[in-house]
Assembly symmetry: C2
Homo-oligomer: 697 residues x 2
Amino acid sequence: MGKCVNHPDRETSYICMKHNYYLCDDCLECHDPDIYCKFRSSCPIHFISKKGFERSDNLPEQNRESDEKCTVVFKPEDKKISIVSGTNLLDAAQKADLYINASCNGKGSCGKCRLIIESGAVKTLKTSLLSTKEKEKGYVLACQATINEDIVVKIPEETIEKKLKAAGMGEAATKKLSGLVKKIEPIVEKVKLQLDLPTLDDTVSDLDRLKRALKKQGYDISKMSTNIRVMRQLTEAVRGENFKVAVSILWKKCSSEIVAVSPLNNTKESLGLAVDLGTTSIVVYVVDMDSGKILSAASGHNSQAACGDDVINRIVSSEKDGVKKLKKMAISTINNLTKRALASINFNHKQIENIVVSGNTTMIHLLLGIKANYIRREPYIPTVSEFPMIKAGEIGLKAAYYAGVFIMPGPASYVGGDIVSGILYTGFHLFEEITLFIDIGTNGEIVLGNDEFLMTAACSAGPAFEGGGIRWGMRAEDGAIEKISLNPETFEPDCQVIGNSKPRGICGSGMIDLLSEMLLKKVIGQDGKFRIETDHPRLTIFNDEPAFIIEYAKNIDSDEDIIFTHSDIKSLVLSKAAVYAGFSILVEQVGMDFSSIDKMIITGGFGQFLDIEKAITIGLLPDIDRDKFQYLGNSSIAGAYMALLSNTYRQQTISISNAMTYIDFSSNNAFMDEFTRAQFLPHTDENLFPDVFKKII
Amino acid sequence: MGKCVNHPDRETSYICMKHNYYLCDDCLECHDPDIYCKFRSSCPIHFISKKGFERSDNLPEQNRESDEKCTVVFKPEDKKISIVSGTNLLDAAQKADLYINASCNGKGSCGKCRLIIESGAVKTLKTSLLSTKEKEKGYVLACQATINEDIVVKIPEETIEKKLKAAGMGEAATKKLSGLVKKIEPIVEKVKLQLDLPTLDDTVSDLDRLKRALKKQGYDISKMSTNIRVMRQLTEAVRGENFKVAVSILWKKCSSEIVAVSPLNNTKESLGLAVDLGTTSIVVYVVDMDSGKILSAASGHNSQAACGDDVINRIVSSEKDGVKKLKKMAISTINNLTKRALASINFNHKQIENIVVSGNTTMIHLLLGIKANYIRREPYIPTVSEFPMIKAGEIGLKAAYYAGVFIMPGPASYVGGDIVSGILYTGFHLFEEITLFIDIGTNGEIVLGNDEFLMTAACSAGPAFEGGGIRWGMRAEDGAIEKISLNPETFEPDCQVIGNSKPRGICGSGMIDLLSEMLLKKVIGQDGKFRIETDHPRLTIFNDEPAFIIEYAKNIDSDEDIIFTHSDIKSLVLSKAAVYAGFSILVEQVGMDFSSIDKMIITGGFGQFLDIEKAITIGLLPDIDRDKFQYLGNSSIAGAYMALLSNTYRQQTISISNAMTYIDFSSNNAFMDEFTRAQFLPHTDENLFPDVFKKII
């Protein structure tokens, strides 16, 4: 028993498991932070419910968290945090807002979360992913280490997330997008009004006075409501500049809401925020809502990456630690990017009144704190497809509290709003030409259709194209090899590295180049196995299997060569086979073959750097007329931008989403057959890749 | 400078003036308690804004609150609280949830907040409202005392608020109201549904599945939205009982919102709460939404009474201490009453899904935390008249978070939703008969009209009828003299006391009886002055003026006689004159006189105990045919009950409010003239009170 923190006169047995304080029944039941929840709201885990509280009399002593604290200093930034003894090192890093690579979400299987203990010691689990040499140097896998004393930890170069090479940004983007929206229709409209001054003969309330002025301007006030926040600000707002006001009206599906009123002289330009919420990376555009001009942009890694590379790992993580944790990570990434974008143009986040978020179904669920558990379980049902208008403050986005957040609708669990946004941008749903659209990111989503039909499917490309599961694989960041050609005689690689720095690994487009080059130069065969002599200077043995040396350790001041192993080749082949099988089956389902395709659109962060010819060589893309291929950068952000400015486009995304027919491949035998046939370079069927076979034979 | 409590790595200069902790810019700007506001939300004063935070570098040392604590024990309940040295004793009592009488809102002028210091000492200001004898006994006025050390305080019998004699409650009420509502249309409708089970061939989202089922049942889903809370609970809710669910739909003006979804087996009966939010007292009814039956009721004092008796004092208090304080008081009174009402029938507050609140314009503004500042300033403009649908959780009412709260619309600053509710109940707006309706509570609101017109006005009756400003005046609580007759010879009073206990004072109906009896028995003249000899045993001198002794001190084990002074008579005469002038002018404004009145309805907690004949005798009510008078109990709660059960009635209240024409008396010369003429017993014009003059001459 103890005293309620809010009511010292009340004895209660409910204790917070996390913070060791007591709350009485009233405080536990109450929803209003003004009334009872003084301290309760400081514990996110039981903000809404009794969850997290236990009767102290039922509580075995050892269940209470230890109070012993340890200090952790993270170098090179010298970030210092205090944590409870027994905390996992990866969790500690997250607590310090240091989001480090952890592709496998703490399973200890990816070996990415490598940190160096500089002083103090941690308790670690066994791992084969670190060499003896590395262990001697103090390397640990953060996810496998437990902190029991004060430590100093260094985050080595390779573990720090570098700047992403983001697609479709800057001046060029603005130019490309300008002209796409003819008439600007914001989500939150700002209306400037002079209200009638009140007199003894005209004593209608402030709100009625406001509505009367809106009606005079032609607004339909019969479907217009407001909320408690506005009513609380209204009294002072209308009198701030003698009844001259700016009114913000949020337009919803079939009604509108007055969401803010301020004195006219307090009013600043209204901004919009377009967000592409990718599994790997997040892009934001800050847009002037009057002109439609993109004022600023920023991109960065989704800090959820610390909970796994792909959507399945993210869902698993949300099931384990609660969806709130993942929500918080996504929100804080977006907020940090917004802050960065705004800082460069000197605007305040409260000016953001319009937001559009485009993302895949899992990302959107996690962003909103909606459980995604059944997305990964047959029959793969999302909780929401078409979202009601949300306010930024309800989910914690850095913007005006009342900013309207439009979420791109997504037709299925594995084909989401980002694809709908891409279709909106490319516009092929409006034309007769048969188009095959693919977004190769962490997932591979395919759409086939024209103005009469839209078929869609998703194939589990796996994380290989993003560097996952590949010994030296990495994302398209600074230090990634993005282009490779091999000397036909010596097989010596000629590499192009992002940021023109020393290579730190190899990204998706680099791997495709490498595989294609190895195939054409006969380093490997069509079965993906090495054909060159085992004593060739470019060949080595790693973990009992052959591996191709891309860069020698000595050239990059490292202890280890950058290599591409036989297992890496197999992973890549499986990934490309899944994508190709996806294309084939979708085309087959509508009774067509690849010759019927008029246009093939490739989008996604990855697509930007893809060498089409080489992608065809390895059998990732079909061997059709090269002129039919069209690269588009990040079509998800482009569609989000369009929806931000136009209600017509917002409504169009709903029509697109509703028109899409989803084909599930997971239980499709034809897909499995085609998948097997495609696990060859380029394919088991020569007739499908006539051009490629001419080159390799 | 200090470290942000949420981000220990950030230095910041913003310090909370109240709790002495630091917050960084991000935390100050953020709205989402999940993200940044860990500790901030524990300070109500700066939950929403930077208010209450100061840059610590700008802060003079002496501005920070002293940390020195004192303990105060309140007897007889032995409530113990810890407060900061320097706290006012009245504030301390409020902090301990002890709402004691303080009619003048801490000005030190009403002398009601009498407490006895049993141990320790307080610093007090001079007051003439306590006798030397009382001071010797340790009496202080709480509002004039400052605590600087540990003290024990006793709340004497006369300062404790007793149970109100509330009107229109219990079995009788239910009977009276049953049958008023033919078809129950709740604010939040509960629909039971079996959704289609998801399969690989039917993979629509949970929300779309739910909407599809609603559509099948005939609901218009095109105007139906939902919110983030529901989306977050939906995943588990639909799967809790294999897609059998109960859905709660909140009906708004022109759209609807899915506000809750739960597994069908978790569903309990839906309850409604009707609230009459009076300035003095608050009444709640708990209603079964299926049958319309009133299951339970409770009433009690509005704890805002500690901030003054009338609406003007409440507004002044809200301007001084912030509207949140007053909001909190009203909400917690309602919540405590609800808790009490529910406890008696063993229901949970989360079953309350429907709420209607009826109250005057000021009470409603303060309840919702809306500033009422301009209600008391010419030209007397309220902020809101017609309220949007609110959710209980948004304002902290003890109910389901999503419970729909319908606020009775009020046509003017001084004629509010309680009057509209009364009209709805009496129904005279639907008939041809000319009706004069009056609610005499803390304010006096008058409506004149029929099915063709509704004119309304308010007269400042003053607090006298509720016991304010009267030496021994009190509310209609236990111990109040509610009926008096005088022996024609000895003038010895025959008193009826509420609760049949010893008298503690006199309430409104008792005062009217007393005044009428004194006039008829010639203790006083028509001018209100005493006519009996100064040495009469029933006459005494108090503060240099004559006073009538109602009860001798010795009979009630007291130090003082219960008396009625010449000033008390004057106050009462002013009050009755204001009400009568109000009637006269309103009737005159529409070109009628009292003979045109077909019906006179008297309502309000006060009205219940009013002796019509005696009220006419003193000139409070017009001297018309007694058969035209009709007593109705608490018509505000009755109308709230009707609106709770019927959308037709809810819409009717809006029509009533819009149809009412408000006449302002504050700048009306005719009113001032009539007010002056009415300051006589019963009136200066004999022709207006023929029956009364027959009796007194």
